[in-house]
Subunit: 462 residues, 2 copies
């Protein structure tokens, strides 16, 4: 137990307390005053940070006692640390975005009805809403879809905890986010779901301006909901990478959201991006708190729960905000890693239990991990592997007869190490993150500058 | 592992499969046809039964492996069996009531708008709804409160699992349902919450016809949400009692709901009681499946998760259905047990870790368990204990000097054994349940026949 000192230091306690008090003051002010939900959301995110920071620390021993612990294999001293700490973040996050509900929704109601709960009264102040007086507020009719977002994130948290507890097999795990997305899809269906998409200009002669996807649109949303959590879950294996890659995506999404908020109001996409901000800011709060404890050298592990939770926050934001294509632009490293992993995931190539980079205790550096071929690969696979090796997309070791005896594991982290040689764990994480930021910014740049080549009006165009 | 044979027998498999297929057929029919959500709800409950029955069996070994197991102390052979099986019921239940959403909500929308998702279009068929054509359907505006119910039940399930994993202390546990009720209260607040109550006739000269409770109404709902789950959690300790007492309450609530459905439509309370049925029928499904495995001699334990989950289903139904007073009438045995337990819960009397009846291995019967007084009780407490003994509300043992050395534990189950002597575990459970049914029926009888003495119109009156 001494290995996880669960008490907060005096500095920590006083800083967290000061932060919380300041945030509480802002929230009280916002609720009584004319109100600015975005300011309240920022304050709530501060509380989410302070809350999960302390809870992660305090609950460490309880998690260890309940058997939620693991050994960090990439260290010289392989001591046990608490695992599944993402569950703490998820619970704090869910509590915070639930308590936040009255801020974007309530005042709108008070202002737009005669009061006293008369829903029938015609909204007299609707023009105020349109002209920006009530900017940052949602109409009451959007409450159901906000709630379905919370429900889905809560479902993935329960199922993630189940996964961490029971160590579910990969081929079952894969569909867990699909089950969790059911509330989202069901409410989308009941709540007047839009299932058409705008067709890119070059295809319009064939498909028309709008394409009604109907049932296929649900399949598409389902696929996004399965992809995002799983792709974060498999880009893992070194300290801090799960949380920090999620933070990079979250920050880039926030940048993208702010871009829309600066556009002149009223704008059709503003509400979607406000919704996105309200979901992402507290997520950034809890994730930062987790990163402090999970960054190299890790004092806690995040568990599959965190990866699922984070991925589902993004999926929900992208789906309900109707910017899932932009979302996928920010997932390019994860998509690459997913596609690159496919040969092992689908067992074309042997897949060991762990594919993370190997820790070399002598140099204290991470090296590319390998899969040993017990039986030499079949001819076409051997040729493919050698081709990949030639293209610098794999490292293959052959014996004297030219038979492949081992190949590096098919993950982006291993490939990075094949390219740039062994390096310390945190250095590897930082390089991957820098790459991710650059790729993400490039994606956003392309999306906002070249989208007009494919679509006649950008969402931002006034 | 041999102690929990997790495979279903051939008879079980074929019966469950037949049941599921029949239910699927009904659901498909209902969705395509003109629709009767109540029929669909019954069919969903059948699937909920089959689903949780099989999952409880299949997941037994995984639960044991994850450390979720316990010993049954009231048996000669104290073998370990899986614990926290209520979590399985809760997850199946949540999935089922989520998938059920389009049945009470969707058709209403299609019928009441011009289609194509135009929410603005004036509802032309509103009269149909009023005249019973769309009986058993909810207006779309109720979706948010239905979702908040699911959210709250889901929250209590997460927190219940946390409780079972971490063995939280009693004084913290007590408030867990309060945290879980936050989504319910918040949405109630945002969603035009009614916070006035009808004043009983004798008090009207002083308070008026309607009393605006405002903030206090939220305190009241919060209290109900804390009370129901906790009161079921402490009326526990013998095989099957948690599930069967919940089933009795659920059945009596269903009887009460049906009473309203038989009243001429349109009736203001119909929607509330339909909502109640839609929540309770699948609950009965999953609970029956659990009872089969938890009844004497138990093959699985239910965990705090089940007690919280069950209590929260009742709280949600009572609060959103606006019949919490009737609900409390069905909780009379639990209220008695809660009040009777208070001296030990609040440590006026020493409280051992377990207060359940004691198993006498020689007779194989359950006996009243006792607390030993290490130090003799203080004078006023001793007098009170002796008074309770005289009133047959406790059994006290004194030494030769008249000092109390032990007293029976303050639970209804122990008191029952004090009154009627030792008996076998299942016999005790059955007697308590019969008493509960009789008290509950008496409560409903009084409520529907004498309420007019206190209120000028019963909800049922046309």
């Amino acid at each position: 137990m001494a290995s996880s000192p669960s008490a907060l230091s005096l500095t920590e306690t006083s800083s967290l307390l000061a932060l919380s008090l300041a945030c509480f003051a802002i929230i009280t002010n916002t609720f009584h005053g004319d109100g600015a939900p975005l300011v309240a959301s920022l304050a709530f995110s501060g509380i989410a940070f302070a809350g999960s920071y302390s809870m992660i620390r305090w609950l460490g021993p309880a998690f260890m006692k309940a058997g939620l612990k693991g050994k960090d294999l990439s260290k010289v001293h392989k001591k046990e640390i608490p695992e599944t700490m993402g569950a703490v973040c998820a619970v704090v996050y869910l509590l915070v975005i639930t308590i936040f509900i009255p801020f974007p929704f309530y005042k709108d109601i008070v202002a737009a009805t005669s009061g006293g709960g008369n829903r029938d009264v015609v909204m007299e102040t609707i023009e105020h809403v349109q002209t920006g007086r009530f900017l940052h507020r949602f109409p009451h009719s959007k409450l159901a879809s906000y709630l379905s977002a919370i429900l889905t994130i809560q479902s993935i948290s329960i199922l993630g905890i189940g996964d961490d507890l029971f160590d579910i097999r990969w081929r079952h795990k894969f569909f867990i986010p699909g089950i969790a997305s059911i509330p989202l899809l069901i409410v989308y269906f009941v709540d007047f779901g839009v299932t058409h998409i705008v067709v890119p200009i070059p295809l319009r002669p064939y498909l028309g301006d709008l394409l009604q996807l109907g049932f296929l649109y649900y399949v598409y949303m389902f696929a996004i909901a399965i992809f995002c959590p799983n792709s974060i879950n498999i880009l893992a294996g070194i300290n801090g990478i799960e949380v920090s890659q999620s933070l990079v995506i979250a920050f880039l999404l926030v940048v993208n959201d702010c871009y829309y908020l600066l556009a002149p109001y009223p704008h059709p996409a503003t509400d979607s991006h406000l919704f996105s901000l309200y979901m992402l800011l507290p997520f950034i709060g809890v994730s930062l708190a987790l990163l402090v404890h999970n960054w190299y050298p890790s004092k806690v592990f995040v568990g599959d729960t965190y990866c699922y939770f984070a991925g589902m926050v993004f999926a929900v934001v992208g789906i309900l905000g109707h910017f899932s294509k932009t979302l996928l632009l920010l997932f390019i490293p994860q998509i690459f890693n997913f596609v690159y992993s496919a040969p092992q995931l689908f067992r074309l190539v042997p897949c060991p239990r762990h594919r993370m980079p190997r820790f070399n205790a002598r140099t204290a550096l991470m090296e590319s991990s390998v899969t040993e071929w017990q039986h030499p690969p079949k001819k076409p696979i051997a040729m493919l592997l050698k081709l990949l090796h030639r293209l610098h997309l794999l490292r293959v070791t052959e014996n004297e007869e030219g038979t492949i005896i081992e190949s590096s594991n098919f993950t982006m982290l291993n490939l990075w190490l094949v390219w740039f040689g062994p390096k310390r764990e945190d250095r590897l994480a930082i390089e991957i993150l820098v790459m991710q930021v650059l790729v993400g910014l490039a994606g956003l740049f392309i999306r906002h500058n070249f989208a007009l080549l494919l679509f006649e009006s950008d969402n931002v165009g006034v």
